[in-house]
Assembly symmetry: C2
Homo-oligomer: 436 residues x 2
């Protein structure tokens, strides 16, 4: 029997991610959400919609809480008492201590698991990405294996932590990362620093940092404010500000030796800085490599796939700047932002042409000794540059131990069919054939 899941907050981004993922795994899904559009979302997704959550929860095998951090505990308190024994209550919030504590009050027999998927809702298949699970001994034995399967089947990697370990870990992994980038963004704003002018003078390290600042600033500020408001993150704020003050005091007062010592301590706690240097080198090079290849391709044909629309643009590369590439095809010029495209390989370009161009057709008849093998001849024709496929469409014996073979040849759309036909005929004559 298919398990019935109720996703509270199911119309939100992360909620919809769970809808898609659970659907693929054959769960029977309903959502509840205070979003006025929720019922339409449910209809569009072809799933159930629940209006009165409190009276409905008894019907479900799993109740999944996917609501903003600041209301997660409240929703748990309201919903849990009405669940039936044997069912599972699970939240998917970025903090775990509060929700796990709230779930402790669920009725006897209701199992509880805390989950934190470490990826955003834009990731369709979380291949190799991590989900952290918090299990409660004696309260999740039946459901845990199925929940682990659920995530692992979607390609994610499951790790276990206690709620305390989780929140402490995340106070740095998420809390400090976001805080530092947001503070950099706020500083750039407070200095009225001209970012677009600075792009002309960027080093790759600065460029990448600025892009991550922009990435964080592009997110929902309410979610980020809630993560920053967690008690464990407060401790991290204090530690960070203390270090900033120490470092700036020592630098500004000219105590170079103190600054050097602080930096060395940090490096020695960090450990293998050389590996970090190499990984970041690799990233910097990946950023530069595509641009270099494009810059060296001026005057040549290249294909660029638009990352977001998947449209492939093919043309002669006319101009390349660090921001843009200009392709020309049949007199039409297309300007593409480097950030939006990825360069296809020569093989990928060929596949694209085979699938997308209108090709030419030629029928070629040749007289050869009747001891030849027609399929070997077809294979040889297929080896001629520009030939996509070859089909033998006619054979008949002629005088003097000869045979007439006719091949239908498909020639790739952007090649001159006469030129390719000529080459095929030369090869056939070269093996002793007579074109008819």
């Amino acid at each position: 029997m298919r398990s019935k899941v109720l996703i509270i907050g199911g119309a939100g981004n992360m909620g919809q991610w769970f809808v898609r993922s659970l659907k693929r795994q054959n769960y029977k899904i309903s959502i509840a959400d205070i979003d006025p559009q929720a019922q339409e979302v449910a209809k569009a997704l072809g799933i159930g919609f629940v209006e009165d959550v409190i009276s409905a929860v008894r019907d479900f095998d799993i109740v999944l809480i996917s609501v903003p951090i600041n209301v997660t505990e409240e929703v748990i308190w309201k919903v849990a008492p009405h669940m039936r024994p044997g069912s599972l209550l699970m939240d998917v919030t970025s903090v775990k201590k509060g929700p796990m504590k709230a779930m402790r009050d669920a009725p006897k027999g209701v199992e509880t698991i805390g989950a934190h998927p470490m990826f955003g809702p834009t990731v369709s298949e979380p291949l190799g990405q991590t989900v952290i699970l918090v299990k409660v001994e004696g309260r999740c034995e039946n459901w845990l294996p199925r929940i682990v399967d659920l995530f692992e089947n979607s390609g994610a990697h499951v790790e276990f932590l206690s709620a305390e370990e989780h929140d402490q870990m995340m106070s740095v992994v998420q809390g400090l990362t976001h805080f530092a980038y947001i503070a950099i963004g706020a500083t750039i704003e407070s200095l009225k620093f001209d970012l677009s002018k600075s792009r002309r003078f960027m080093s790759p390290v600065y460029e990448i940092m600025v892009d991550f600042v922009g990435r964080i600033l592009a997110q929902n500020p309410h979610l980020y404010a809630m993560i920053q408001a967690c008690p464990d993150v407060k401790r991290v704020h204090n530690a960070f500000i203390t270090q900033c003050l120490e470092l700036s005091d020592s630098a500004d007062s000219g105590e170079t030796e103190k600054f050097v010592r602080l930096m060395r301590n940090a490096a020695s706690h960090f450990g293998d800085t050389e590996s970090a240097l190499r990984r970041s080198d690799k990233l910097v090079n990946a950023k530069i490599a595509e641009l270099e290849i494009l810059a060296k391709s001026i005057g040549e044909e290249r294909a660029l796939r638009h990352i977001y629309s998947d449209v492939v643009h093919v043309g002669i590369v006319r101009k390349v700047t660090p921001q843009e590439v200009l392709l020309e095809r049949e007199g039409k010029k297309t300007e593409l932002k480097i950030e939006n495209v990825s360069l296809l390989s020569a093989d990928e370009l060929l596949c694209w042409k085979v699938d997308n161009l209108v090709h030419h057709r030629r029928d070629i008849s040749v007289a050869l000794l009747d001891c030849v093998k027609p399929e070997i001849i077809a294979g040889i024709i297929e080896g001629v540059d520009g030939v996509i496929s070859v089909k033998q469409i006619d054979t008949y014996r002629i005088k003097n131990g000869h045979v007439s073979l006719t091949y239908r040849i498909k020639i790739i759309g952007d090649k001159d069919p006469n030129g390719v036909q000529h080459e095929v005929e030369e090869v056939l004559e070269g093996i002793g054939g007579k074109i008819r």
Copy 2:
């Protein structure tokens, strides 16, 4: 006549970079350096060494100052008065206001330029990287075009700023970037946070940030301390700490709306956060893509080039983790760190094999009609999978209008030569030939 350059600080990393770059452009180079090894370095590089700088500077066309920031002005003061009119004094420090002011006191007729290459000494060819030049109106007309050429010939891109603009720009581009990363590293240390454990729970954004923290911590702390001690950077420290305090106060006191407002202001000053998101997405994907391809290649042959040694490792992929890949070749297993290798394409692997394996040789004789073209037959043989090259080594006429052709065939080392020979013979028989 070749221009004579004296590089003061020429035994240092950046100094040696200039030695290599100027040598390629046919300058006659000497170095001076307080490093006791400097004379040996000069000998090893095949360039001159100057002991008594003060009395020697008159002999040089260019005096290039490549010494630590904190002694740059002092060196300029000492050296400049002894230079001869018509020569050029240029520094290559990360700050420009102080050195430009010091160079103002150079004797009449001595030209002066300030330079700041925005790349490290490990970059051999600064393709597309930026060099900022500070020119002094009326004091660099003769030398400026040559210095611009010097950098542009090495592939760099030249931008002009005033000393004030430069230092203000760099207080953020370098000052803030370094400061934030060093402070994050110091915070991780002060919290005694377990970085290696955290790697199991990383999100790509955190992972990349941590690698850049490690990258900065791996650098020379004295250089970084000096950059942080510049007056313009002090202003940036203050602005950054002010923003950190505002953000943490609003988050810790639960003033979510204030935090949201600060973040929104930063986003609106930042401007196009969507583009930043896309560029960072592309970077995150580049990081993940190679790992995904490797994970999908288990059981197949792949080639990995070691980024630092350039050694190519070829083998069957046996195991892939986010950190390592295990290759097996002829029973020998090699474990490689992902961060140290880059995956070669199928074409690159083939080229490597052609260059590095011991190949097989076979001579094949075939009787064909004497109207065939031997070079067309050779081309057909070359098309057989596993054949690297084909050479016609013998021809003679035989009875009944036939000819005997002998080809010497090179078969790639890791293919079974008998199998490939058999395929070649099948093709030759297929076109009516008789193997002899």
